[in-house]
Each structure stands twice: as C-alpha cells, then as structure tokens.
Symmetry: C2
Subunit: 298 residues, 2 copies
Amino acid sequence: VSDRVLVTGATGFFGRHALGPLRERGLEVHTAGRTDGIDLLLPGAAREVMARVRPTHLLHLAWYVEHGRFWTAPDNLAWVGASLELLRAFTESGGRRAVLVGTCAEYEEHQSGPCREGVTALRPTTLYASAKHGLHVVAQGYARQEGVSLAWARPFFCFGPHEAPARLVPSVARALLAGEQVRVTHGRQLRDFMAVEELGDAFAALVASDVEGPVNLASGRGFALRDLVGLVGDVVGRPELIVYGGLESRPGESQLLVADTTRLGEEVGWGPPEDVRAGVERAVAWWREQDGAAASLR
Amino acid sequence: VSDRVLVTGATGFFGRHALGPLRERGLEVHTAGRTDGIDLLLPGAAREVMARVRPTHLLHLAWYVEHGRFWTAPDNLAWVGASLELLRAFTESGGRRAVLVGTCAEYEEHQSGPCREGVTALRPTTLYASAKHGLHVVAQGYARQEGVSLAWARPFFCFGPHEAPARLVPSVARALLAGEQVRVTHGRQLRDFMAVEELGDAFAALVASDVEGPVNLASGRGFALRDLVGLVGDVVGRPELIVYGGLESRPGESQLLVADTTRLGEEVGWGPPEDVRAGVERAVAWWREQDGAAASLR
C-alpha cells in the first residue's frame, strides 16, 4: 500500500505549490477543503474525511488567511479547535505522520540574528501567532502521547503566483507592469524570502521526512526589502519607478527576521536550489499574464 | 446593574466550593453545565448561554476531569476548542473579566524551590497540562487584543468534600474510618495542599480582582505527604493503621511541587486563613457522614 497524504488548504497560496512536490516524492495526494465540499470548521467533518481517505500522512495548511485580517480575526480561535479535531481524527484513523503549520511570527521580535528552533524565544504578539503557537503546544503533547510523528513547520516569507495582490511583491510588480510609480519604505529591513514554489517543495520534503518538532521553512538568507523590490524593478525593466522611503515603515517593526535553517538543511536534507531571481522572474511573468489577460477582457 | 458571573463546571469539585464565596463578594452567580441542560462541547451552546445571561465575569472551570483518565484523555483536545469558543462568546457579548483555569502541572518538573508565575519554566509533560498551557497561550493573545481582563489560575493540590474517592485524602480517610490498614509511599514528597473550601474562596477573590496573567492558587506552604496522611490518621484517631513505604512511589515523581504565592497574596490580597488541620477535620467528617449514610442504607 502506498503512502497517502491528506492536504488541507490545498487550493491556498502554499498548498497549491506543495501538491506536485508531494506527488514527486511518491505520495498519493488527497485534498480536503471547501472546493471538495468539506468545511473543516464543521464538527464531524474531519472524522468523515479521515474515514474515507485513511491517510498515512497529513499536511494541514488550512486556516483563516485573508490578507490584512488574519492577524486579528476571531476565526483564529475556531481554527485552533478545528485543527485539534483534525489531528485527533487523523490519529484515531491510523495516521502516522503529520505536518502542521506555524509561523515565523511565533518568534520574539527584534532578534539580532537568525531565529533557531528551540533556542530563540517564542513570544507571539498577534492573535494569529498566539493561536498557532498555542496549537503547537497542545498538538505536540497529543502527538507525543499517541506516538504520532509530528513536525511543526515555521514558514518565513515568500512570494509567487497566486499571492494576495495587496502584498509586497505583487503590488510592486503590478504597479511597475502598469507603468505606475510605486512608493515603498526605506527597505533596509532584512527578511528571509524565497519563491513559493520552493516553499511548496520544502513542505513536501518535510512531510516525507521523519523530522519532528519545529522546523523553519526558509532560505536561511536575509534580503533587504529594498533589494527584493529592486530585483522586481530590474525584472520588469522599470526600476526608476520605485520611490524608496516614500512610505513610512511600521513603528516598532522588526528590522531582522531571518531563519536559521540548520534543521531544514541537515535533518530534512532540503536547501533552496536556486537564486531568488528565478522566482521573481516567474512571479513577474505570472502577474504580467494575469493582468494582461484581465486587460484583454476589458 | 450588578456584576454577573457565569460559572462553568459549577457542580464539580472546585466549582461547588466557589459559588458561595462569589456571592459573598456581591456577584450574581449563574451556572452553565450539563445539570443546567447545557453541553459546552456542542457548537453554539456558549453563544446561546451568553446571550441569555450576558455575564460581566466568567469563571471557566469545566473540563474533562475524570480521575485517573484526565491526564491522557483525547477529550482534552475538545475542551481546548470549547474553551476558546466560550471565551469568544463571552467577549462578543460584552464580558469584561474572565478567569480560566490551568494547572500546576504546567510547570517544569523537578523544581528546587517554589514555582513562580512568569519565572519558573513551563514544560507540560502530559496531554492535560499541554492542553491547558496551549489554551492559555491562545486565550491570552485573544484577551489582550480584545481588551478583556484575563487571569489564568494555576491551582495546586487540595482535598475536601466531594473529592474523587480514589484520591489520596479520601482513600486514606475512608480506609481508616473503616478500621482498615492503609499503605502509602514513603511520603517525603513535598506538595502545596490546601482545603478545597479555601481554594474556592481564592477563585472568588481572583475573579473579583483585576489581576491579569497567571496566578498560582495555593497556600505557599509545602507539606510532606506523610505529614498530611499523618494528620488524617490523627483526626480519625487511627494513625497506627498507616504503613509508610508500603507503596512504591511513581518513578521520576517530582519531590517538590510548591507554589510561590506572592502574586496571590500581594496582588489579589488573598491568603489561606486557616491551618490545614481544620480542612482535614471537615473532610474526615464529611467522609464519615457519607460512608455512615451509605452503611445505614445497607
């Protein structure tokens, strides 16, 4: 019998980029979400899907993720409960290996170096990050007791096709593609960025591994936001339209949020195979096509 | 308008001893539990009771607490979700002050001194303690965001009327009352014990205060278990029936689990008003009456 992975949130930004890499690793992929007619927030839904699919593996990406609202939405509370019900149903139906998804925002802000799993202090300051962190505490206790192999993915920053249009890379790329000036902050904040296609591959590698506990999913490289924005400008061919410092940065914003990727590299055996430019080229090409198609429909 | 407190788990060991002290502090007490026809594990139940009662205060004691099973029961997962739904419904119906209940088992085992809130490391090793700790992480993030005053009670050990019969004080008291020999461990483990009537009063004091964050509910005094057991023997008048060292203690058992009660004393303004002997006398009298009544029915 082959290994079967159930993926929740499979149509989301992360999920859609993880399905191919999971199949490439020999996993039979099943999905559970609203487009499959399954609402995981409904009691009993998880049990029903587990009884039908009987997955050996679980990649649980579903959550409330609406851009700009997910940090504070009370839906975060419901997703804690639903995620625990999902993990319990998975375990009780014989599941063996689960990857749940946290966030780099679990780490204490204002680090002076890369965030390392199990070493860097956790101090979530938003409801979203608190909900994710609290879920991890409970899920870890349950998985340990039940003998389920559990990894807790902490993705850092990424960009690419199907990203929410209001986010940094899409908003800059689309403005430049339209020939419009775009104002950004000073851009000296360092962030760990990678292309979402690579993040999807890293998720699949983590699912297929037996590494347990928290694992940063990231490149391990810090980019100044201005360099990332500049790269978008270069790829579009309109760097002169970018106005650095034309936006105030958020007060108290972290100046450095970069992952230590020792666990991902040495234990999972995954490293980012490409330069970030290739990802930016794909993202720009995708937005060009999207907006071009939209324009030609007008 | 008076302050109205909604108490969940009001018929439980802690809850029944908190109702009087809450009323003494001027709070109008409402209860929500199975004996009121309310199952808080059912979706929507919390919202319904909040709409009806519109409590200003919440004391949430309900949980899965069956003796011997609560440490590992998967019901712990469902209670995390239900507790978050309860806190959300309370908040959205205008609630202002909530006390949720954790456990001294959240603290890392094998301390060399009293456990202090915010200082002693938290490292739950059981599902029960993990579920409680994870709930606190999420609830704290939500309460902070919503401006609800939230305290997280960490009760230590207690005994008294209505305790589960298999627990230490009832099992020793009932055996001695029946004239039977009773075997206990060496009993040199130090624990922070108080009478449940006092714990109920401490809960009420915490609800009526505006102290936020984790607060140990305990006496601040360490008792060797052999001294507590000996006190039961003295009160019953049959100390010679106790065989110390007649039971193995649990391997790896913590030798010291005592609370620092600085927050409870200085911030909440509550201290244990009595010697532990008075509580033991009440407990023994209660078990004598229970078992006597049962015997006279035979």
